[in-house]
Each structure stands twice: as structure tokens, then as C-alpha cells.
Symmetry: C2
Subunit: 240 residues, 2 copies
Amino acid sequence: MHNSALSPKEDLNYYFRSAFSVTCVIFGLEGKSMKVLLVKRNREPYKDQYALPAGMVYPNDSIEKRVDSIIEQVSGTEKFYKKQIRAFADTSRHPLGRVISIGYYSFLNMLDCTLKAGEDESEIIWMDLKSLPSLAFDHNDIVQAANRRLLAKMSSQLAGFELLSEKFTLKQVQEMYEAALGHSLDKRNFRRKIVSQTVIEETGELLSPWDESGKAPMLYRLNKQLYEAMKAEGHKFEIF
Amino acid sequence: MHNSALSPKEDLNYYFRSAFSVTCVIFGLEGKSMKVLLVKRNREPYKDQYALPAGMVYPNDSIEKRVDSIIEQVSGTEKFYKKQIRAFADTSRHPLGRVISIGYYSFLNMLDCTLKAGEDESEIIWMDLKSLPSLAFDHNDIVQAANRRLLAKMSSQLAGFELLSEKFTLKQVQEMYEAALGHSLDKRNFRRKIVSQTVIEETGELLSPWDESGKAPMLYRLNKQLYEAMKAEGHKFEIF
DNA sequence: ACAAAAGTGTTCCTATTACACCCATGG
DNA sequence: CCATGGGTGTAATAGGAACACTTTTGT
């Protein structure tokens, strides 16, 4: 397959017998609870078990594009944030041979999603991060690693707005943080901190429709251009 | 590279045509400057260029063990800390085919090292992190990612003691932090912060031999058992 | 008028910063 | 006795944490 200038005694082709895949931990937020998107597999191995959305990658395909296509396919939206966690490479993680999987985590807005099972799965479902079943392969480990990354990120920074709608209330932001961090926060201190960030701006609109009693809350927005620009300048948006 | 006219859906073996490698960013500390261990390659591709220590991994070998063996082989010591950065997977990163590389960074004590070029390299050398040459493959990217991790870790936590000898002076710790963070720190505030960590203990000994004028500095030690135990309990050793 | 949620300030305390001199040693 | 590096304390400030009531609106 690969013609190289190397000395022939080195059996280079022997190395080219691994496969790799990508595995996605897709986070969604529903009120105060963090959800993870799972699929029920309709093929071996691990047929009929829940698993993370994942897919093999062809030797000449881009990993990032493969991740994008998996997330789009399974969630039905093209609007999401994603980032690599790390490679998961235990020799025994896949029963069919050496398959290294590159884990990604992703944030998206559940309201943008249309879940429709494709040919690789019999079911697509949101499940609560705190009560996941036993998953196929090493997917529980991957979720755990993703959860640590989520925690690390949100413990210090302003982040995760991909989980919310474009316009959001401060309460939604607070609930997002409470879900991510696993503990509750002081309302006044939290609001002060968020509003004092220059990238969070008032829209002037109120949330509507508003069924609850009391007054409708103010809607805010993240100034994405400014946010990206400041991030590019090295600003860390530390809020804790 | 690969014949895409195949109908790969049915041909699972088609996936098993990738290779993977590990690539190590080995950090060492010399006074106030952070060093990286490089090898000069004596084979194609990138013959005679500097590169990070790296190696292909056989399909049935453990990644972690391969990393250990590379670091041991190139540095001559078995005492080091290592951690995965992430997978580097650009389709064009390796001229011989699809080779995903899993990047690791590592800390070790330069004084423990015996650099002796093996059969894969014509030279092994420490170079200053701040003035690295252009490296083979995407190794400059990998160094940059490792550097970000180093910065992120040391910006908040008590860490990096693998870079020092078992007994160290507080000045050495401060210089390590200054090298990692890239700016200088207030001596008194820094010392206070370090000494106030329960895991840092006095040895009662003074540094010797001591050639400089003035009095010889006190030697300290990290209580590794306690450090690991507290880390296992979730303690983060935040010092900034 | 009452129930339910939104929104708003102040005080206290802890943690961080800034800063300069004396001491011990060797030449 | 002087040059060099080690080692130490305090005061001012800023940031984080704790805390309760008033306003609005729909029923």
C-alpha cells in the first residue's frame, strides 16, 4: 500500500492494521439537568445496548468532519460546539480488533434537535447524565472523562452558551452552571458576575410566552463576535 | 493513497488500514529555563531534522507502555510523570499514510538523564522551549499544545515536582513556576504559599555543596504519599 | 389579596498584593 | 568588611460570600 524509502527489513505495513473511530459525548440541558445523547445499537458488537454516538473513520477521512457528520446525523442540528477530549486506546476496548477511539464532547441546544434513528441505531434518546445505564465498549469511561472536562471548564470560565437558546434568561444561565457544577449558587452574586461580563448584553426583550406567575424575565444574549475576539486575544473569562 | 472505489461499507477490514504512533514532549528544567528533549532523525521521512521522540505502535501493543518505553529509552531514566495531551490526526500529518499520533507530555529531572542516541536517532539533545527550531511532522503543533497544558496546569495548581530533585529549595520551585508561567513572581508571597501547603515539608537539611556566597538554603521535600492521597480525594492544590 | 417568580445592595471577611530590611556566609 | 544570596512581616486593597426584602403579574 505505502511505498516508502525505508529499509525493507522494517515491516512498515504491519503497523497499518489498526482502525480508529470517533465517539461523541453530546451534552444537552433541560432545565436544571444535564443530558447526554445515547443511541441504541442495532448491530453487533453490543447489539441492543445503549452507546454513545460513534463511528469508524476511513483512513483518508478527516476526524473533525467525521465528528461533525455524526453529531449532525444523530441530533438533527448543525449548531453545536465540540472539542476533543483525548484518545481512548485500551487494547481490549473493541472486540473486533485494535480500534482507537478519539473522544469528543459537544454542547448543543436540545430545542434545535430532531432525533430520528438512522440505519445504525434503533433508538436515539436523551438520558440524564447522573443516571446513565451501563454503556457499550468503554463508553462509560468516555462519559466520565467528558464530565470531568465539563466540570473543569465550567468551574472557572464563562462557557456553555451553546446549550442555551440564542436569547436566554439569567436564571437559565444559573441553572446551567448548577447542573454542570453539581451544586447551587447564590442568585445575586451569580447574576452580578454574569452581567458584569462585557460579552453578556441585554436584549431589551422579555421572555415570552410566560405562563408562570410573577413578571416575565429579561432576555440576555452573548455577543459572540466579541466573545470570540476576546478569546482569541487570550482572555479567559474567569468568573469563579 | 487508498482506493476509494471499494465499497467499504461491507468491508470492515477496510477500516483496519491506519497506523498510530505516540509522540512525547519531554520537559526538563534547567535553572529558570524550560527545556524539551529532541532527537535528530536518522531515517526518512524527515531524515536529519529535529523531532520529538516518537514511535509507531503495533496494533496489539499498549499505548501507555509504548510511551513509557520511548521516554525511558531516550532519556535514560524511569522516573517521570506523563499525561496524554490528545490525538493529532490531520490526514496529511504523515507522508507515509494515515498515522494518527497520540501526544503525551512528560516531566522529568534532567539530572536523572543519560542521553545516548539509539538506532533511531543520530542525536538526542535538550533544547530551550522558547527557541525551538522547525520540527518534523506536526511536532511544533504538539509542542505548542503541550506548552498550553503546562501553562494551564501550573497556572493554578501545585505541580511539576517531577522536574526537580527529590529535595529542593524554595527558590528552585519558584524558578520552575517562573519558567512555566513565563513571568516572575514575588518571592515572599510565593514562599508563603508553598510552605503553607501541607504536602511540602522541611527536610532540616541545607543544600550542599554550596558554592555561592551567603548562607546555604533549606531543602524541602514533597510528601508524595500525602500528595497522591489528597489528589485521590479530589483535592486540587490550588495555589493561584 | 395572594401566590409565585424577578430583581436588587450592603456588610463582612478572607485572600492577594505590594513592599524593604536583616542575617549568615565566604572571600 | 563587603558582596552575595537567604530568609522574613505587615499594611492596604480587592474580591468573594452571606444574606432578605420589594416589585410585578396572573389568578
